[in-house]
């Protein structure tokens, strides 16, 4: 169930990029795409009987673990998403200082 919801969330993000004309809403749609993708990647390694991949001592064996490799990849992806969002918002702030608006239609007229 969560896998289907994550893929549809990604498609919502792409639809938001198509139809919105506001710069801030385009950055919000980018963030929605990233959230959907991260949920989908972690759902690949899930097991119903598994436990979290942390070993307390080497005495307990025989547990089934969930896959730790997708979690390591998503950890990096989340932090990179923050960097991208910060840079996009800095560019949006400079756009407002130059054109005095956030909509793409009004920007093309005044150029």
């Amino acid at each position: 169930m969560i896998q289907y919801a994550a893929i549809i969330l990604f498609v919502f993000g792409i639809y938001g990029l198509f139809t919105n004309k506001n710069v801030i809403k385009m950055i919000i749609s980018l963030n929605i795409m990233e959230i959907g993708l991260n949920i989908f990647i972690i759902s690949i390694g899930f097991n119903y009987d598994g436990i979290a991949p942390i070993i307390s001592s080497t005495n307990d064996l025989g547990y089934i673990f969930v896959d730790p490799l997708p979690q390591a990849l998503v950890l990096t992806a989340i932090v990179i998403g923050v960097g991208t969002t910060a840079l996009g918002l800095a560019i949006a702030k400079n756009i407002y200082k130059t054109y005095n608006t956030f909509e793409l239609d009004e920007m093309e007229e005044s150029a």
Binding site: T19, T58, L69, V79
Partner: protein, 236 residues
């Protein structure tokens, strides 16, 4: 018209992705992933865990087995902080004055909270190889505590020069420890300190040291980004 075009393309893409990703033999069904055929069975083997010495397997992957990707990710974060500093800074700066003035109690009380949050972040960073957490959320908590000080006081500006020096030193030490691995052992970023017992604080070789450096670097970068967003040029 354009809305309809975008809607049709998104629906087509969605149907294609759902059909391609949930109907193949190479993709396991949700909740029945077996790690016997994957490379994670090597990461979770009990002999390899004792050889690396870290209890948290995700930490062992991020810093140990795939440490080079973490070096690349630190580089990407550094470039984005550099870009924000280029776009939004100027020689003379002052705080943007907002319409509200914070209370005196808020200004004094937030300094106590700042100390508590900082101690929490150090705990999360230091125990990265025993409990969930590690360098990335710990560094983000350091940046959140600096954000609290910015929000509670109207005239507060942190010491930006010391943050920049700390970030540069932490990044360089990361690469230098990797090069030390090249000198003392076979390859770049190899674990050359002893592994210890799984579950103790002093274990897992160079993994806690690298996580401390990553936490300090990420925290000071994001604090610098917050400062760049809240200051503007002096127009006097």
């Amino acid at each position: 018209m354009k809305n309809l075009f975008g809607f049709l393309i998104s629906v087509t893409l969605g149907i294609f992705m759902i059909l391609a990703l949930t109907n193949t033999n190479a993709f396991p069904e949700f909740g029945h992933a077996s790690i016997d055929n994957r490379v994670s069975s090597q990461y979770l083997n009990i002999d390899n865990v004792e050889e690396v010495g870290s209890g948290n397997i995700v930490t062992a992957i991020v810093v140990g087995y795939r440490g080079f990707d973490t070096l690349g990710e630190v580089t990407v974060l550094f470039i984005s902080a550099l870009g924000v500093a280029f776009m939004l800074s100027s020689p003379k700066q002052k705080r943007i004055d907002l319409k509200f003035k914070p209370n005196f109690m808020l200004r004094v009380g937030s300094k106590i909270l700042f100390g508590i949050i900082l101690v929490t972040s150090f705990y999360i960073i230091l125990h990265g190889h025993l409990t969930p957490g590690g360098g990335f959320p710990g560094g983000a908590i350091i940046a959140s505590s600096v954000l609290l000080l910015y929000l509670a006081d109207d005239k507060f500006r942190s010491n930006i020069k010391s943050f920049k020096i700390l970030e540069g030193v932490a990044g360089s030490l990361f690469v230098i420890i990797g090069l030390l691995g090249l000198v003392f052992a076979t390859y770049f970023l190899q674990n050359f300190l002893p592994a210890g017992h799984v579950g103790e604080l002093l274990s897992a070789g160079i993994i806690p040291i690298i996580y401390i450096l990553i936490g300090l670097k990420v925290g000071s970068e994001i604090a610098g980004i917050v400062d760049n967003f809240l200051t503007e040029e002096e127009s006097a």
